[in-house]
Amino acid sequence: MDTIVAPATPTGGAIAIVRVSGEDAFHIVESSFKVNLAVKDGKWNATLKKLKIGDEVLDECIVLTMPAPKSYTGENMVEIHSHGSSFIVRKIVDTLIKHGARAAQPGEFTKRAVLNGKMSILQAEAINWLIRSENSKGWEIAKKQLEGEFEAVIRKLRKGIIDLASDMVADLDFSDQVELSMDYFEKKARYVLGVLEKIVKSLERSVVIFNETKVVIAGRPNAGKSSLMNSLLGRDRVIVSDIEGTTRDFVSETVNIGGFRIRLVDTAGIRLNASDEVEREGIRKAYREIEGATVLLLVVDLERGFGDYEKNVLLSANGEIIIVLNKSDRVDDSRISEVMESVTTWVKNEELDCGRVNFAITVAKDGIIHEVVDKLKTILKGILDVEIPVVPQERYLALFKDAHKRAQEVVDAVRNGMLDAASFLLEEIVRDLEFVLGKVDVEEVLDEVFSKFCIGK
């Protein structure tokens, strides 16, 4: 393996660290700066050294040597702790490269650690997200994955899959000797489905945690969106008027609600027949915000009711939804239940997930919005309650969602008496998740068959 080098710290600190890793790491550092590292076999060693380039001393540095395999990458490693000047750092790196090292690609140190068996891919990815975590929840998730909690879940999933696969093999290949009921298969398939479901749900929440939690206010012009925004912020941030289309662009503020830091966005009211280009652009942006919202606050003017405007918005939403029934001071209770009823009926007809839809009754202009705040807190708590600690690595989400879909198909196939198809689908899941499960060889499944069932002629 060639030897790689890269600064490990950002510029601007008092101290900077340059990392070197590879078979020749010690040798390259010694010849670059004319020092003797006196590396001790199997032991870390830190010494203060004057690094020279030619005859000139560049800097006095702490040089830490970590012989293979007891280092982060599992290779010979050197860390040079210099003063934090970007000039010094650049000099150190350049000199090392001149003497045979190569500039590391992003993530290459961790990649080597994985390839050398120092950590699993899942751990490496956890480190990546640990660095990026900005709140305690994200830190906790990444740390737990690093410590192997997610891997434990994966092991359980793998065991469940092999268990089910071996039952299927026993039944399909030794039909005269093993006959298991379809109910039995369904139960086991549901277990696999359940684990995958939990993983997918946790991943979806993890995405929210590592990204900003966005709460978007939408609704038709003049519904009271800006009034709600101001009330939530506790100050008059946005202009409120009874002219339709007052807010043209979206306005966004960070706010703390019940201990959660969220980004609150007020959008332009959606008018279907917006005439001028500025307003149309505002509406396009509003839709983009609605799609990306973790929680959508759809403000409905109780006087005007639930119509096409509102329906369009709901169909674009991907996150949780609170229907804010505003201007409740202007109507009587029967009108409120009438509007609620029409929303509920429509949601059911469209087969939207009813669990996602909540109601809050408000008088935004007077700051009577406690129902919104309470619902928001409950939803956020739910979102942040992640059962399985898993970082939102992009490919995980796609693959696990796919596997989850397949698992549902396995259950359906079993219910329809197609055990042959179910066993095929299960193999597909195994192959798609190979990167986390590891390869599941047919021999491993057969071993399980023979240890579980007494089979033979």
Partner: protein, 636 residues
């Protein structure tokens, strides 16, 4: 110097040898089949059954390629049953019981009718000069010249029978065996190892209490293992199911010290899927009720076979075992169970996928000597070895069936790319493309290939094609024909417990509903759904429609997988060069097994699909390789 001259000599007239000799003859070559005993051609020394999951697929494929096994089973069955009727269409398969003696007579007859030279003499040496087959020498001192030898000696090489404390030299059922051939072969760079297998006792049917057993009734009217032939009912006999008892387990536990597995006078490498009853008791001591299938050995014999009671414990223990089972309490043993040890030439790293030996040109190995078990596995290999021997006589391109083409392809690929420590059996679970390799598609997949090779005649091929087109046409028709949600249609659907239509859908969509099958669809929409030429054709249409999504998905896997397996590893490649480029786990396995091709690599347990794709690029793309190794072109 030579007494006679043949193109191909086949040694051993078991299931592999029969297929090999027959197909070589079909391909117009001069062939001689040697056997110890002309009266035991096609001996079935273990159970009197052919087919079942995996094995049944093989029989259809053999039949599709012009082999004789399907025909022999059809001529000699005592019963045929459809298995796996409630596990989905693609799992359904046949199993036949055969009359052993009749099978042998028909086997000999078929070979004689075809004009295969059959000879009773023992081949004691394969004459090999400069790594090339020249002929064979026999025990009677005869010398035959030939370019190709197909060795299909089954369990007869250096065979030893083990029964209780006794061990003696003999072939299956105490037949003559061969003790000269292997030794002489080893001089030519051929590797050998030893396996064992065992068989249960046979009993006199007049002493069995059938009243205490559950009869397993045959099916009638279904298509047989022979293309286009039906199973007729007059000749069928049921088999029976009974169980061991707590007492059986006690008896075996008491006498375990007499079991050859415990004594240790038997090779370790026995088949896990066919454990002896003593092994079952050791592994599952809590289980009292082990199944015993009681199967007739034939029409004209009183002997019955006790599948499930395999053992080589001493005779007195075998009596005690039967006494512990109410239905077999009085059963008189006609032959005792025994184990047999025999020579195996592991094909991994020794045979090409054509089944020719890598060190001896013209020498092919097929059947149980390759470490497989089962009549069907043997026959399949014999067929392929025969085809390849004949093809290479003309210098033509040899036949290698891919894993995605057939169960036969999987079988041969498995044994030539992986090593096995026990006799190999072809489970359906080994067949990753089983959604497309259905028993029902064997003819469509393989008959065209066999026709091109000149193994099957035009008439057979055309019949297969006609059937294929009929199915294809019907599938298309059902996909195109749309049914409107009229009141009449919805009433019909309601009558059969199916949900009403809310919009226009195709007949195919309706057939996909779990509660539907082809005949129900035909009954409900007789004006659109045609009656096909056979129930098999209707079944196949139904399968293609119901499994469409899976079949499609599997096909897309096939091309991807086959693509990334296509590369060779240069001889002596230093895998250490890839340290740090692929996972350490995969690297360890690559170093340990030093594979020579992408196909072998794909079978390794620790090499993931991602690794495979990487290696494909590495060995196929020079630029990529140089970049990975950090070298410039001139350094390599």
């Amino acid at each position: 110097m030579f007494d006679d001259k043949y193109d191909v000599v086949v040694i051993g007239a078991g299931h592999a040898g029969i297929e090999a000799a027959a197909v070589v003859k079909r391909m117009g070559k001069k062939v001689c089949l040697f056997t110890f005993d002309l009266d035991t051609i096609g001996l079935t020394p273990c159970n009197p059954a052919v087919g079942g999951p995996g094995k049944g697929h093989l029989v259809f494929e053999i039949d599709a390629m012009g082999g004789v096994m399907g025909e022999l089973v059809h001529r000699s069955y005592t019963q045929i049953r459809v298995l796996m009727t409630s596990r989905g269409n693609t799992a359904r398969v046949l199993r036949a019981q055969i009359d052993k003696k009749m099978y042998q007579l028909e086997a000999r007859k078929i070979l004689e009718e075809m004009g295969v030279d059959v000879k009773q003499d023992e081949v004691v040496e394969i004459v090999i000069e400069k790594g090339r087959v020249k002929g064979v020498k026999t025990a009677l001192g005869k010398l035959y010249s030939c370019e190709k030898v197909i060795l299909t000696a089954g369990t007869y090489l250096d065979a030893e029978i083990v029964l209780g404390f006794k061990k003696w030299r003999a072939g299956p059922s105490n037949h003559m065996a061969s003790y000269a051939l292997t030794k002489r072969l080893l001089k030519h760079g051929v590797e050998v190892t030893r396996f064992q297998t065992a068989t249960p006792m046979r009993v006199d049917g007049r002493t069995i209490d059938f009243q205490l057993m559950k009869p397993l009734m045959p099916d009638v009217g279904i298509t047989s293992f022979k293309f286009g032939k039906k199973v007729d009912k007059i000749r069928q006999v049921p088999s029976y199911l009974t169980y061991t008892t707590k007492e059986t387990v006690e008896v075996i536990k008491q006498h375990l010290s007499t079991s050859p597995i415990v004594i240790g006078n038997i090779a370790e490498a026995g088949p896990r899927f066919c454990p002896s009853i003593d092994r079952k008791v050791i592994n599952f001591p809590e289980k009292p009720d082990h199944q015993i299938f009681v199967e007739p050995e034939g029409f004209n014999t009183v002997e019955w076979y006790l599948q499930g009671l395999t053992t080589s414990m001493p005779p007195y223990v075998q009596h005690k075992i039967l006494e512990s089972i109410p239905s077999l309490k009085r059963a008189r043993i006609t032959r005792y169970g025994y184990a047999i040890e025999y020579n195996v030439f592991p094909p991994f790293k020794q045979l090409k996928p054509t089944l020719e030996h890598i060190n001896v040109k013209g020498l092919y190995f097929a059947g149980q000597i390759n470490g497989t078990s089962g009549y069907e596995e043997a026959a399949a290999q014999g067929l392929i070895a025969g085809i390849n021997a004949a093809l290479s006589l003309d210098g033509g391109k040899e036949l290698v069936l891919s894993r995605s083409s057939s169960y036969i392809g999987v079988l041969i690929d498995d044994i030539t790319t992986k090593s096995f420590t026990e006799p190999y059996r072809l489970y359906t679970s080994r067949v990753e493309y089983r959604m497309i390799l259905r028993a029902s598609t064997a003819y469509f997949r393989l008959t065209p290939i066999a026709y091109r090779l000149g193994v099957v005649d035009r008439k057979f091929y055309e019949e297969v094609e006609r059937l294929r087109k009929e199915i294809q046409r019907t599938v298309e028709l059902l996909k195109l024909k749309k049914i409107a949600p009229t009141k009449k249609v919805n009433e019909k659907l309601k009558e059969v417990g199916s949900t009403a239509l809310s919009k226009k859908v195709s007949l195919a969509e309706i057939l996909k509903r779990p509660e539907f099958n082809y005949s129900l669809l035909k009954r409900l929409f007789p004006e659109y759904v045609p009656e096909l030429s056979s129930p098999d054709a209707e079944f196949e249409v139904e399968t293609e429609i119901k499994y469409e999504a899976y079949i499609k998905r599997q096909l897309s896997r096939v091309w991807k997988r086959e693509k990334f397996e296509k590369f060779e590893v240069p001889e002596g490649f230093d895998w250490n060069l890839l340290r740090g480029k692929i996972s350490a786990e995969a690297l360890d396995e690559l170093i340990r097994t030093s594979p020579s091709s992408g196909k072998e690599i794909a079978r390794l347990a620790r090499v993931s699909e991602e690794d495979l794709v990487f290696l494909y690029q590495f060995f196929r793309d020079k630029k990529f390789r140089l970049r990975i190794l950090g070298m410039k072109a001139e350094e390599l």
